[in-house]
């Protein structure tokens, strides 16, 4: 299935759940409401025309500092061309982050049968910081959701064993949140600040 028909098949099936969609450089993306996530994901996995049996990646983004600090133009200073190759169609530029919510949990799905892929973006409010777990559908989501919990502090309802995976128990805060102080040290042993 190509990106257009992928997006159409889901927006037709879940008109209330999908808030927006885009196809950026050949990758279909759907912005999905958090409460409909499991329904959409189950449809993705079980529908014979979609058959997304492989959860490639599950991660999150903290958009709280997005656009506020101008990033140093690394690519410009390094001499690497910023513009993509003219062979890559770029008629539809990236529409930017979801309108609502500080965080976005991002899911990348792939179908080993149909060889197509799809990205789901679920906006998460900072006050909620909770989405439903997909471990019942893809067991591989277990550690990925633990990593998102560890790094961003986003909880997953229904996860069998939600605990830190990279940092140790007793570590305070979630280091990939943009408001985590860069210089903060909290070692298990040795000097602290």
């Amino acid at each position: 299935m190509n990106t257009t028909s992928l997006i159409e098949s889901l927006t037709d099936r879940f008109p209330a759940a999908v808030t927006s969609s885009h196809a950026y450089r050949g990758d279909a993306t759907l912005i999905v409401r958090p409460k409909s996530l499991v329904d959409v994901a189950r449809f993705l996995k079980e529908d014979p025309a979609l058959k997304m049996n492989y959860l490639m990646d599950l991660t999150a983004v903290d958009y709280s500092a997005f656009g506020k600090h101008p990033t140093p133009a690394f690519f410009t200073s390094s001499g690497v061309t910023v513009k993509p190759s003219s062979e890559i169609p770029d008629e539809e530029p990236w529409p930017g982050p979801p309108d609502e919510g500080r965080f976005a949990v991002v899911y990348h799905f792939f179908s080993t049968t149909h060889k197509h892929r799809l990205r789901l973006v679920v906006p998460v409010e900072e006050s909620v910081a909770q989405v439903d777990s997909l471990t019942a559908l893809w067991p591989g989501a277990d550690w990925l959701e633990r990593e998102v919990w560890d790094m961003f502090g986003i909880g997953f309802t229904g996860h069998p064993d939600l605990k830190r995976i990279l940092m140790y128990e007793g570590f305070e805060g979630h280091p990939l949140r943009k408001d985590y102080p860069v210089k903060k040290r909290q070692p298990l042993i040795g000097p602290t600040n």
Binding site: L166, Y168, Y180, Q186, P187, L188, G190, P191
Partner: protein, 167 residues
Amino acid sequence: MFNDTSFLTSRLDDAVGWARKYSIFQYPFVTACCGMEYMATACSHYDVDRFGAGFPRFSPRQADVLFVVGTISHKMAPVLLRIHEQMADPKWVVAFGVCVCTGGFYDNYATVMGIDTIMPVDVYIPGCPPRPEMVLDGLMKLQDKIQDHGVSGKRVAPEPRPDLFEA
């Protein structure tokens, strides 16, 4: 001939130091990419066996030099400290690579800013990773130290590290 420094004791120190420096049993605590350079140094081309250090022991109880090779994270630090405590005296520690010496280019929530914040270090070998020649140079410096330490393995207190965490 026999003045106030004991002739016999100083010769024993020399003999024991000489024996120890040519029979280094090393414990390689390898966590990262420096391990490749460590292996290159250990293999036949550079051949640490020439220095009597060719026999890595993978039990800290049988080792007398701890080679810390590669970035140490805060989560790993208690494990490293425990390995160090399990080694019998006299023991020496080599910081292999810049991450172990100072934290290297890592300056974040996860990395120990040099293992000398948690344990004494005898020889620092910087580099990312260090060339085998530098490792052999560090090994020879360690041999000199072992020779100097004599029977007791006692050493002068290391220079205190400047406080990293002053505001």
